[in-house]
Symmetry: C2
Subunit: 657 residues, 2 copies
């Protein structure tokens, strides 16, 4: 391909819209152009990269026995209503684009395909003799992201490989899941990526076990925690660790402590010499469902941070059977109540001084003056409305969801009370007294909850793992090791779904014994367009992209230094033709630009090999430059094919990188 025919426009300056280096480089080198927020055109060079990645994915999946298919992007609402996911995916923070067709029927634009494939399986898979089956597709997916950003990393329209397997029993599912783990490792290696597999939260997809594949890179959106010995790696959303031991609080009868203005943990510790691990902090939040809003009272040990994903899972487990999917969780503030169309007055809740024994009746608006929002967002407040500070898990979606018309919501009259086990295990602790400027010292769970109107059980929280594991925490599998932090870009995710979808959608098969049972399912995703950008994030330098050869848009670029020089032009054309004939994917920079411009563009584009045809062309000598190493050599033009072709053929496997 000739560069003059490529519609190539490279930019010298960094585009203002791009925050991370891979996004900047893809824009500057003319690989992508933004059409709308989170929506990009894949220009011809990037399309070649995407096709190469797709080809590697297809080869490896086909070799594993998987079948390629293509499912609709427009999906009827009824299917998602059957699985119970329509509301969660379309209301509140749900990310499914949805529309009404001319017949008035609701359709969603597929972010994923569990419902469609399961309904097909219900139709097509009838007997254990047809199992296992593993189907996949490579397709554009859609997500109405709250914050589209970083180019192809978090777009609203992107290319995914998604696959779904069906099994007669759990062992078979586990075997395919293990096989996909290996296939995924090979795919990423062949793409020239350093990727690590980590334990992951199953999120909205669900199921019993899941594992993510992360391309390690400083700009990654995910925090990964790994043990030094490499035997444990998890997304922080999911990670577990041993907490530091709490510093025991000296035994003393429970007593009140005057703490004027000391509403943060730091203030309290500084004023009274407490260790943060001696405190119980209380977060007041609210979970919105389709019709109900459940107030949450969450207790954490003072030195721990909330893991929002674990909290969402806990709330979902407790409430979803009754109220449907959790649409969002927000701090319990006047702003939140207003956005949800609820009365904004609450009882006299002394925010900043809330203790675990806060009574439910304060939720009623007619109990006293409105004291909401006093301490929203204060880091480490002992009785705050949200855990917005600290180095812990950031709120997944920190801004409140946009006000859309709400159905009439109802604020439930009692808190769902949850405590992280580190807080629940404290024998004695310091906590808010539920009165302004006052804390309790030496409180215990028994004593606090004994005061409840409805008996001690009414105030006693449910004990769960809600804390965010942190770098530096001791590992569960080996307390002598500490968790280390790395950042990663999620490029793959595999799930053991079990029978969640087959049960919901009546996808049964006849087993060997002749009776019907629900299919066992797995699902397996790769972010194809994200992977392309992740490769850039992992492979670049100050001059531009350094594509792994296996996914490079072209393998070699021939650059005549001066196209007006007939000798150079002729030799460049000859080498271009010769290398193409040898099966190499060659670009010829036939533009009438200065040599410096063409070299800069070649570096920016990231073509693995550059062949410069300059003044020495008259002596039949050309210069070969390897983009990754910068290594340069002068070679007789006649030796180029023999030198380079085998080397490129070997690099195509990608595994050597």
């Amino acid at each position: 391909m000739r560069v003059s025919r490529l519609m190539l426009v490279t930019l010298r300056d960094d585009p203002a819209e791009a925050e991370i280096v891979s996004h900047r480089l893809l824009l500057r080198a003319g690989y992508i152009r933004r059409i709308s927020s989170g929506i990009y055109a894949y220009l011809p060079l990037l399309w070649r990269v995407l096709q190469k990645i797709s080809a590697i994915v297809r080869q490896e999946l086909n070799a594993s026995g998987a079948l390629e298919t293509l499912l609709p992007q427009l999906q009827p609402a009824e299917l998602w209503q059957s699985s119970g996911r329509w509301a969660g995916y379309t209301a509140g923070e749900g990310i499914m684009f949805h529309l009404v067709d001319r017949q008035g029927r609701e359709l969603g634009l597929g972010p994923t395909h569990e419902e469609v494939i399961t309904s097909l399986a219900a139709d097509l898979l009838r007997s254990y003799r047809q199992l296992p089956v593993n189907l996949y597709q490579i397709q554009t997916k859609f997500r109405d992201e709250i914050r589209p950003r970083f180019g192809l990393m978090r777009g609203r329209e992107f290319i995914m490989k998604d696959g779904y397997s069906f099994h007669a029993n759990e062992e078979c599912l586990r075997a395919t899941y293990a096989s996909m783990d290996q296939v995924y490792r090979r795919i990423f290696a062949r793409c020239g990526l350093r990727a690590v597999a980590v334990e992951a939260d199953s999120g909205a997809i669900g199921g019993s076990a899941s594992q993510e594949f992360m391309v390690t890179a400083a700009a990654g959106e995910d925090l990964i925690l790994t043990s030094g010995d490499g035997s444990y790696a998890a997304n922080q959303e999911r990670a577990v660790s041993l907490p530091a031991a709490a510093v025991p609080l000296a035994a003393s009868p429970p007593s009140e402590l005057a703490t004027p203005g000391q509403s943060s943990i730091d203030d309290l510790c500084a004023a009274h010499g407490f260790d943060p691990s001696q405190l119980v902090k209380v977060l007041l939040m609210a979970a919105r469902f389709g019709r109900q809003v459940q107030p949450l009272l969450v207790c954490l040990r003072g030195d721990q941070q909330l893991n929002e994903v674990k909290l969402t899972n806990a709330v979902s487990a407790a409430c979803a059977p009754r109220y449907g999917p959790v649409l969002e969780i927000q701090p319990l503030t006047a702003a939140t109540l207003k956005a949800w169309g609820l009365p904004q007055g609450l009882g006299a809740i002394p925010f900043g001084f809330v203790g675990p024994h806060l009574a439910d009746h304060l939720l009623l608006a007619d109990q006293g003056p409105v004291v909401v929002d006093g301490f929203a967002g204060q880091a480490g407040a002992t009785g705050a409305v949200a855990d917005a500070g600290g180095a812990g898990a950031p709120l997944a979606n920190p801004q409140p969801a946009l006000a859309k018309p709400q159905p009439d919501l109802q604020l439930l009259p009692s808190f769902l009370r949850l405590a992280d086990s580190t807080a629940a295990e404290l024998e004695r602790f310091v906590c808010g007294a539920n009165r302004a400027d006052t804390h309790l010292m030496g409180a215990s769970w028994q004593q606090l909850c004994a005061s409840a109107e409805g008996g001690p059980g009414a105030l006693m929280p449910q004990v769960l793992d809600l804390r965010a594991a942190q770098p530096g925490d001791r590992c569960v599998h080996d307390p002598s090791q500490q968790l280390q932090a790395a950042r990663g870009i999620e490029v793959g995710h595999i799930f053991q779904l079990g029978r969640k979808y087959s049960q919901a959608l009546n996808a049964n098969f006849t087993n060997e014994a002749g009776s019907d049972e629900p299919l066992w399912m797995g699902c397996y995703g790769i972010g194809v367009s994200r992977l392309a950008q992740a490769a850039v994030e992992q492979h670049h330098d100050a001059q531009g992209i350094i594509w792994p050869l296996s996914i490079a848009p072209f393998e070699l670029i021939v650059v005549p230094a001066n196209i007006a020089d007939a000798v150079q032009a002729e030799l460049a054309e000859r080498l271009y033709a010769e290398l193409q004939a040898a099966g190499i994917e060659v670009l010829l920079d036939d533009r009438g630009e200065r040599a410096g411009v063409k070299f800069k563009d070649a570096d920016l584009l990231g073509i693995p090999w550059r062949l410069v045809v300059g003044r020495a062309a008259a002596e039949g000598i050309v210069e070969l430059v390897e983009r990754a190493t910068g290594h340069t050599s002068q070679l007789p033009a006649a030796e180029i094919s023999a030198t380079l072709v085998p080397r490129i053929q070997q690099q195509r496997s990608g595994l050597a990188q």
Copy 2:
């Protein structure tokens, strides 16, 4: 691939949802499954067909120098507003799915990509040195069809190849257009299809010239008119012909004729011995725009039928500059007015007896009693509300559009008066007298229009080509030839767009003289998924599909008659391995079904070659069956590769078919 692993479910009975044979066969053979109206899952076997078609498209386009790219499916409304197509594509009969994202911004789901590619060209194409450029993509497209039907033929989600070329001048555009014509012919030939190129209407895409490629098949939705010598072929929407000469009406002074109840042309001719060509019939219709409704008074010669596409183009040319795109054209009836939220009373219009000189003031509701709908739908009525009968162009969308909330519409107070030239050329004619049970005999345009309040010009119609060419009409290029009818399935369409989009979206380049001018554009589409079904429509028999080998999902199926017979099973496995090793795409029917079932399925699936391993396997003899011809031969297994492999390799080109 083993049939047991294919998730194959074939149906013995015809599915109720399928009206045409190709749709029935694709469902029965397990190639597709319906997910929603007009929305299908492409199961693994069909996906292989679609990939083969796509590969042929890519090879031919790449060889022509075109560049593959991928543009977004979600498109911002602003781009379509810039080109002026948003309203026409989203309101009324507009077929673009559209939605509002969480930020409240409107997005359309791309049915086509002129706007997106032109905005990219505006950014990337700056100099004549970069031209010409030809970009294409293969992508899922969306259309919210009024009547999705016939499986993949008219779906709401389908796969298209769409391409767009950019040029510095019109000659270059014409050259690429001619080159695409040749590329398209090769593509369809390689896919094993008999396709004809026909002149076509450019429709909503626009531009100066366009040509469709039709796969001829009885179930085709399009009527094609061709001359016997093959030098003229056009879609009926676009076709021109020489009308039969009118039978002259004897000269006599204009007079009134009592025609009690004779509101149809047949009645009138029967009662008075007229020839239909002596009559002028008047159709009253209404065109809806965003805010205005334009009443139409359309005059045709009594023996001619209206071409709705030509009418729409004429109305658009006359009105779109003032009122925006035509959203729909309907008969002027009370039902139409009601659906559009307009007052349903009209003046005393004597439907069935309307003449070309009908006064505008009858459009005002307070002029008299409501006499609407009296003759709606009567074939050949001389003054009817719509030309619903005859063998002419059927109404493109015969049912009224679904009532959606309308903005306040305004009925314009005067008719847009249009006449087909065959009617305008009549010196004397018979027409309605604008009074019940009365016609005028010997009327002339001058005399009729002289009576107008606003002077003769007020009633004089604009003269245009509005008639539908009919099979049997004489050809324009050679009056000795007659037009013949055939039905076709449109699988490709190429357009010379000119500068319509580049002007609207400011896509300029700097020409050789150094000044800026708008780019010249062409656009080129192939319906990839429709082509797959068209191949079935053209290639099948009573037993099932007969895939052209070049696009068959597999080239050969090995069928052991009795898999439980060790000799047969072993030989089948050996041939399966041997032919795969030779590069043939082989299915092995390893199921424990009876031989008859497997033979039936093989025929239904349409695999071009079948190798039956039966009792003679013991003597090393197998049976080779060619699906298309049914030709059967007994061969030593050892000779199979040598016999078959070269033959299949030759068939892959598709051109031999």
